[in-house]
Symmetry: C2
Subunit: 141 residues, 2 copies
Amino acid sequence: MPAQTWLTALQENGYRLTASRRAVVETVAATHRALTPLEVFDLARESHPELGLVTVYRTLEKLEELHLIQRVHQPHGCQAFISASQGHQHLLLCRKCGQVIFFDGDNLDGLFERVIQDSGYTIQEHWLQLFGLCPACQTTP
Amino acid sequence: MPAQTWLTALQENGYRLTASRRAVVETVAATHRALTPLEVFDLARESHPELGLVTVYRTLEKLEELHLIQRVHQPHGCQAFISASQGHQHLLLCRKCGQVIFFDGDNLDGLFERVIQDSGYTIQEHWLQLFGLCPACQTTP
DNA sequence: ATTTTTATTGAAAATCTTTTTCATTGTAAA
DNA sequence: TTTACAATGAAAAAGATTTTCAATAAAAAT
Ligand SMILES: [Mn+2]
Ligand SMILES: [Mn+2]
Ligand SMILES: [Zn+2]
Ligand SMILES: [Zn+2]
């Protein structure tokens, strides 16, 4: 997703366009793995050294609110964000390099039906996440 | 899962049996929703007021290490624990009261096969979690 | 262009959570 | 019992996130 799209979205929602926001947005938009606020801070400061960590937190908050990024849950921590997919999708994460790709087309309706029958629950939402090794990391052990 | 089973497991793994551990274990074993360390602390202190929060953290750590409890990830936080299921299972969580039940028997192999083909990733592990409303919470809006 | 308005910024302080330290206590083995 | 040392909880430290606030900069108004 191009950084410019996010900047436009921010502007259309009444937020101002600043150099600091630009630096955060460009960093997250260009990275294909989940980044913690501190990682965003370090990366974004390479191009914009005056950036403050507080602004990273505040910008990520707005991007998440606009559904432009989403939080990634992992065994070792859940404070990381990645560019959001459009629509409902699921994550496949490389355990070695962190590379994330999205996939769709899960057909879980049969399973849901059985669980609903057995439990009496209604089901409103689901999380499905796969962990493995990306092609590059399979060849370099 | 009975608290006594956990206490025995702790003892068999070289840990001592203390009143503080007992209080933590009994609290978590008796609760059917995920509890944060602070919630465990507050609940366990009702029966054992001398308990320290540090001991809650330390005991939860050991219970997790022995796979007697497992961490529960939710949109609003991921620092909560619940009695673990035996074997590989998935969670179904009530969004209103937090009640958790386990289910098994997902058949995701077809999906995995397709994702492996499309992405080139190998798949080692998966997380599947459902959110909805338990029977009790469906009737009390 | 210039001025005005007000959202945004980053440093510092505050808050909240988790971990470490350490002298004391309690458990289990000898 | 006595002994060895694991475990405890208070306090301090460390880490992460949020709040405060005066200065600044973006957008609107002139
Ligand atoms: Mn999580
Ligand atoms: Mn499964
Ligand atoms: Zn990889
Ligand atoms: Zn419920």
